[in-house]
């Protein structure tokens, strides 16, 4: 087929293109991912019974603010990495900021605590299962986000996969926080982060194969 014939063929495809369609797709994927994570959390773990009481405590909200901040920057990164020729720009610098802030809060919190309090803040009683559950709860978002990304055109596939994985991880972490009985910033900074790293690294590994177009 000659190139001119191909051009005629392409011009005959008149299916309309919705401007900035990625916004709607990411919004839908994120909504589906959040609903999936919450349903999975309810099925596997259930909301912590003292939720009404702890909602009065700022530390409880920190467990949503932290993954929420990470989700925001990861969403910006994923949306940029899904489109050819759009640089990451300042978003690249914003990604580690929420983690650095929670580490700083963790250090402040631990330095002001007694040794027994320190153990409780850092290890809690659920440190071993927390990363696993965060990763498990991120699965629905991970699948739909990569699926959306595949309908777009990422050109840096490992980075794009990692951004989708981080966003899914943050969704999983926020859903897990509804169950999680811990309250230390250092607990978030280590065990939540570890849990979110699992889908992030997985996304970076499978991105180059899965997202090709």
């Amino acid at each position: 087929m000659k190139t001119d014939d191909l051009i005629l063929l392409l011009a005959s495809d008149t299916v309309a293109v919705e401007p900035r369609v990625w916004r709607r797709r990411y919004a839908l994927a994120l909504g589906a991912g959040v609903i999936g994570a919450v349903l999975l959390m309810l099925a596997m773990l259930g909301v912590r019974p003292d939720i009404a009481v702890v909602m009065q405590i700022p530390a409880f909200w920190m467990k949503f603010a932290f993954p929420g901040a990470l989700a925001t920057v990861a969403l910006l990164a994923a949306s940029r990495l899904s489109r050819p020729g759009v640089p990451l720009g300042a978003v690249a610098w914003a990604i580690p900021v929420p983690v650095l802030v929670i580490w700083l809060l963790g250090v402040i919190e631990l330095s002001g605590a007694t040794p027994e309090q320190r153990d409780m803040l850092f290890w809690g009683t659920t440190w071993a299962t927390c990363p696993v559950y965060v990763a498990l709860l991120s699965v629905p978002a991970f699948i739909v986000l990569l699926w959306v990304m595949k309908t777009l055109a990422p050109t840096r596939l490992a980075l794009a996969g990692a951004a989708a994985g981080l966003l899914a991880g943050a969704v999983g972490a926020a859903a897990y926080a509804l169950y999680c009985p811990e309250s230390g910033a250092s607990f978030l900074g280590v065990w939540y982060v570890l849990g979110m790293m699992i889908p992030t690294v997985l996304g970076a590994i499978i991105g180059p194969r899965l997202l090709r177009w």
Binding site: M1, K2, T3, D4, D5, L6, I7, L8, L9, L10, A11, S12, D13, T14, V15, A16, V17, E18, P19, R20, V21, W22, S82, R83, P84, G85, V86, L152, A153, T155, R212, W213
Partner: protein, 191 residues
């Protein structure tokens, strides 16, 4: 010198971007002009970078045009068109180098002499890979609309009548067929 070059770049950026945006809004004739002008830019861009693989230039021009068409929903009107097109062309070029080096590592060493007498600037090569052959592999509901509309020059309404499909099924068939064609090309690279 640089100023002249920058002026030429911003002129064609403005012109192509305008054509593309009108094309995206549904003006097929303008879209065709856009693709035609774009293909000349792509050809010279690729010839400079594929001086050792001149036979691959036209294949890659076609592959990039198809990719640009299939991914046109990822263009943001606020974004420079040059950056968007360049990122796609670069991605496909790297992809070609990658599949080439894999194949050559297996059994097909590049003959360095082949480019000695090749004048890439004036040569008008045919594509080596015939997309028409790949089109034959598509399912009927995609292949028939494409064959009737393009190769026989029928309109959507005429094609719908000839194939017994609805008009929207004809449009969707062409649309999906072009996506499927890109997938077929990619699976060829991987073999």
């Amino acid at each position: 010198m640089n100023e002249v070059k920058n002026k030429a770049l911003s002129d064609s950026e403005t012109r192509l971007r305008d054509l593309f945006i009108r094309g995206l809004a549904g003006d097929a004739a303008v879209y065709q002009v856009f693709l035609q002008e774009l293909s000349t830019h792509l050809r010279s861009f690729l010839r400079r970078r594929l001086s050792r693989l001149p036979d691959d230039v036209e294949d890659l021009v076609q592959e990039i045009l198809l990719a640009i068409h299939n991914q046109r929903h990822t263009y943001d009107a606020d974004q420079p068109l040059t950056a968007w097109v360049h990122a796609i062309a670069r991605y496909k070029l790297v992809d070609l180098f990658r599949s080439r080096s894999r194949r050559e590592a297996l059994n097909d060493p590049l003959d360095d002499r082949q480019d000695l007498f090749t004048d890439a600037e004036t040569e008008v090569a045919d594509a080596r890979r015939d997309l028409a052959v790949l089109l034959e592999q598509l399912p009927d509901n995609q292949r028939l609309p494409i064959v009737h509309m393009r190769l026989e020059g029928l309109s959507v309404i005429e094609t719908a009548r000839a194939t017994g499909l609805s008009e929207s099924a004809v449009k969707v068939g062409v649309h999906r067929g072009l996506k499927a064609l890109a997938v077929l090309i990619r699976s060829k690279h991987e073999n």
